[in-house]
Each structure stands twice: as structure tokens, then as C-alpha cells.
Amino acid sequence: MAQVVFREATKTFDGVTALDHLDLEARDGELLVLLGPSGCGKTTALRLVAGLEEPDSGEVLIGEQVVNDVEPKDRDVAMVFQSYALYPHLSVRRNVEFPLRQRGVDPAERRRRVAEVTESLGLGDYLDRKPRQLSGGQRQRVALARAIVRSPRAFLMDEPLSNLDAALRLQTRADIVALQQRLGTTTLYVTHDQVEAMTMGHRIAVMDRGALQQVDGPQAIYDHPANAFVARFVGNPGMNLLPLLAVHEGPPAAYGDVPGGTVPLGAPFVTDPALARAAAVVQGASSPSLLAGIRPEHLRLGEDGTIDATVLIVEVLGAEVHVLCTLLDGTSKIVVRQEAAARRPGAGEGVRLVASPGTVHVFTGVSGARVGGSS
């Protein structure tokens, strides 16, 4: 086992930057999730560790060793591919023992380890089957078995659950977490599914357009997103981002104007000088240069509301209800998450929204960076 480190790692493909000066460390024994939309560079990062791509500049380290020039076969990492990448002409047994054969492990030890791993993953009855004779879930487990059979220094998992149906994905997600905890092997796990990231990762590295946006624990990322991208990407539905037209000093705390009303900004200017500076900037700007971010669960419908809105759609999800509204400017959308038992408004109905005090985040409109210690 070992930590995996990116030092200023950069990779471009035909002039397009896939990875931009990535500085990141997966600690020894940690499950670090690389989260981001398609094309954000997360798979490229994983392939740099596997040795399937070489960085244009910067370094990749496994343990203390810089591995930029080390062949994939000599890196002692195991990778689980999105498509599983099983060897279609080999049986389950031969697939799982393939990495052991390449390392010259003697036949008796090979048999013992294959039996142990396949039994632990419930594959004992399928050893002589070919991959085409297995279901998607079984193939996925064979890919996992092939990865863990040789106790590598690190696991690299590239969206391994994306080809499974919802129920199986839930089960396998728990299996992978349990397996990683049992083995304690450093794991880099790539996904675009933020629920997967939140539930599996010890820490999450959120990426966008080849750059690292934030790396932290799941709760910290959810509660204190570093920028507007992270705020919007993490959470389902993501954080509401509204143009902040003006920022005013209390009392008792600062508040901001949004289309159709006001939102409480929590801290007074004296305790949050960054907010005060931003307020000065927004004052002179011709177009909104700040964004107010509010999680859907931090909003409620109520007569005491400070934002006027019109209901567009009401989505019933069973345990909860999402109310999608438009603000008075006609373009800004806002989602309210409420419990199923709460009163459901009808489409087209005018409503008033209340944002819980201390829950509103402020981001700059241009870079999306977080302003001060908002909420």
C-alpha cells in the first residue's frame, strides 16, 4: 500500500488540456473519489497513475517513487475499467489468475489465491465460465477479483458501477466500500455520480475542465463548497444559484437583494470583511457580479417569505417533493425541497420563499469563487 500523488501533473490531447497542473494526494489506505462531469479529466488522472498515459509535465508518484517513466506492468497497481475489460477468451479462473501468472506466482499459490478471492466475492461456482456467460454484476465482480487477487499498492477504479442497474449498483457500492475497508488499499475511484462519491469516498476531489476545484470530506464539500461549480455539482438537486443584485449591511446581519426579494447573508460586515469588499464591488457593477447559493432543503414555502416566486413544476419523489419555481426576473430558477407531507402548491401558483438564516453562500459571478466565510 502507498499514497498516490500528483505534482503539477498536466496532460493535453491535440492541444486540448485534459489535466491542468493537478496537485492532489490520495493518502495511504484512503478511498479518494475523483468526481466531475464528462471531460473534466478524472479518467485521464487515473490513466496517468496506471501508466496508460504519460504526463506532459509534472510528476506522478506511487509511494515515494516517481513513476512517470515506469511501465504499467511495473507499477503494481490494479485497475477496474468501466467496461470491466475482462479477457473474453479466458474463463473466470484464468481471468482472475492472469495477473498472478504474469508475476510468476507458482501454481499452488495461484490456485489458493484465486479460490480465496473468488469465494469471497461469490464467484466460486462460475470459475469455468467465460465472461459472456455471466451477468453484468458477475462480470463486475470478476473484474474486482482480478484487481484484488494480487494485493496491489493501489486500486484504480474507473466508473465501475456505471453499467449496472440501480439496485445492483447500490449493492455493489456497499460491497466495494466494505472490500476497501477490509483490505485498506489506497483507492482512486472515478465517478460522475455525486451520490456515489458522497457515500463511498473518505475524501472527494471535485474536478472541472481539467482542474481540481476542491478536495475535502464529503460533508465538508457539501456544506462549504469552494466555488459555484462545486456548489451546483454536488447535491441532488444542486445548490440554487441566484444573481445577487446588491448587498446591504444589517442590522442584525448583512442581507442581499435577489430578483423578487431578499436573502439573509448571515455574518455582519464587521465579522466578514471579504463580504463587505464584495458588497462594495457589486454596488458599482452594471451587471450582477455576485451569486447567492442556497441548498433546496434550506428553503421553504411560507407566508413569512422574503422572495416572491411562481411555481413551475412540482416533482413528487415519494419521500420528498421538489418545487421548481421561477423568480420575478422570469429567467432565474429555484428549487425548494420539502417533505412529502408539506402542502403542495399547484403549477402557476404564486408563492413566497424563506431561506433559513445562516445557510446562504456567496460566490463571485465571474470566477465562481466563494466569498468570505458565508454561511
Partner: protein
Amino acid sequence: MTTVSPPTGTAVTRGRAQAPGPPRRARRRRVREAALGYLLVLPALGVFGIFVFYPFAANFRLALYRTPPYPGLPSHYVGLQQVGQVLSSSSFLQSLGSTALFVVMVVPTGLILGLLLAVAAYRRLRAMAVYRIIFSSTVVTSVAVSALIFGTLMDPVVGLLPWLGLNPSPPILENTTWALPAIAVMAVWQFLGLSFILMSAGLSAIPDDVLEAARVDGATDRTVFWRITVPLLSPTIFFGVVVATIYAFQTFGQVDILIGPTNAAFEHVNLLVYNILNTIEVNKTSGQAAVLSIVLFVLTLGVTLLQLRFLERRVHYGN
């Protein structure tokens, strides 16, 4: 006058309900669809019937008749006697031996070289698209053009060998030892384009991530090639073997253009198809040519079936 009665109406209604029930309607639709299908294939069937099936059947009849070398004289029915006579002739046996040797030289060489070129071209290197066009260009080169090129290269005066300081005597295309390998080189070159295209298509069908998984799993380039690429390419290789064998059995153009029946090495390069051609053109005995063409058909079919029976066991058809 009051003859219209309710029972009649009832009978008509019942008749309608029972007569064209759902199964019969479905059967009628199937018949209509089948008739349309036959109608659509009829033109192709007609063309094939006239130019392929009828000559094929007539050939079997022709094999039982001895045809005189001069036109206008009647053919005589000789039955299987002619078959035995052709099959036991020294010219046939030598032709069969040369053809077998030729197939052995052309098939593996053509396929292995095609595979090597495809593997080389598969690497994402600069200007590889140009090489791909060059490698596959022999597909569109006619036998006459390739014979002209190789005839010049093997010319004892202006060819490649004298330029290299090699002057085999007799010249290579008149040499009883080297004429057949020389023709085989030409055939391999000609087949290389198709072999390259086949292997390239087969390689591109192998998922990249399977090869990458093998590399991460610790396999060397050689292991990846032999343990992953070749098994996954086996359906293509198998298809290539069948196609190359048929191609080798049917080769004759190069012999016709560069060797000819008056060449000193002719007996050693008299491939089966060229033998058939000569039997008609020179000997004027089309009955014997018919026997030879049936032998060629049986041989090609037999070898193909043997390949299907034994080689296909080692083929992995993946998912």
C-alpha cells in the same frame, strides 16, 4: 313474398366469424410474404442460374465425355474412365504437387505479413494513414500490372537481382527450383493488401481497454500480443486462412503472363487452374479440363471444410 328470414343473416355472420380465423389469416400473410421474397430474388437467381449453376452442372456431364481436339467432331461418352485417366496422369500429379506447395508457401506468409503490417500500422504514428493506403494498395492492383512489375524486378538483365550482384542460372523465372517461389512471392504481394485490410479490421475490433487491462495486469508487449491479441484476432485469422487458401488455389495469371507453356520451368509451376486453362487452350480436350475443374472444386471445398472442422476449434468468438 316474405322470404327474407333472420336465420340467413345469422348463418352469414357465423360463416364470416369462422372462415378466415386468425391462424389462417396469418398463414395467408406468410405465403404472400414468401411469394414476394421469391419474386425479389428471382432476377439474381436467373443470372446465377445461367452463369454459375448451369455451367457448374454441365461441367459434371462434360467430365464424362471425351472431346476430340478438333472442332465439329462428336464427343464420346467414356464415363468415369476419363476421370481415372486424368487423375493418374503424371501431369496432373505434378500440377497437384506444385499447387499444394504453392498454397503452403502463400497462405501462412501472406497472413503473417498482413498481420505484421496491420500491427505496425495500428500504432498511432504520424503519417500512418499514408502507409495504410500504401499497404492496402495491392488490392486494387491487377494481376497483369503486378506480373509486369515483378517480371521487371526478376529480369536477368535489368532486374533487381543483377543489381544486387546475383545472377542465378538459369534465370529465376526459368529456374525449376526458384520459379514457383518467385510466383509465390508475387501472389503473396498481391494478397498482402487484402490480408492487411482484414487484419486491420480485426485489430480495430479488439477493445483497447482489454489490451490496457493486460498491460496493467503485468503483461509484457509480447504476452499481450500472444495471449490477448492473437486469440481475440482468431476469427479474423481463421477467415483469412480460408480466403487465402481459396485465393492460392485459384492463382494462375502470374504463371500465364511470366512463365507460359514453353518455359523450361513450366512443369514445376503448372498450377491447377493454369493446367485447366492449358488443357482447353492447348490440348483442346475440354472433357479432361472438366475433370480437373471438378478436382479443383472438391479440393477447395475439402480443404475449407477441414479448416472449419479443425481450425475453428481454436477460434474465440468473444462476446
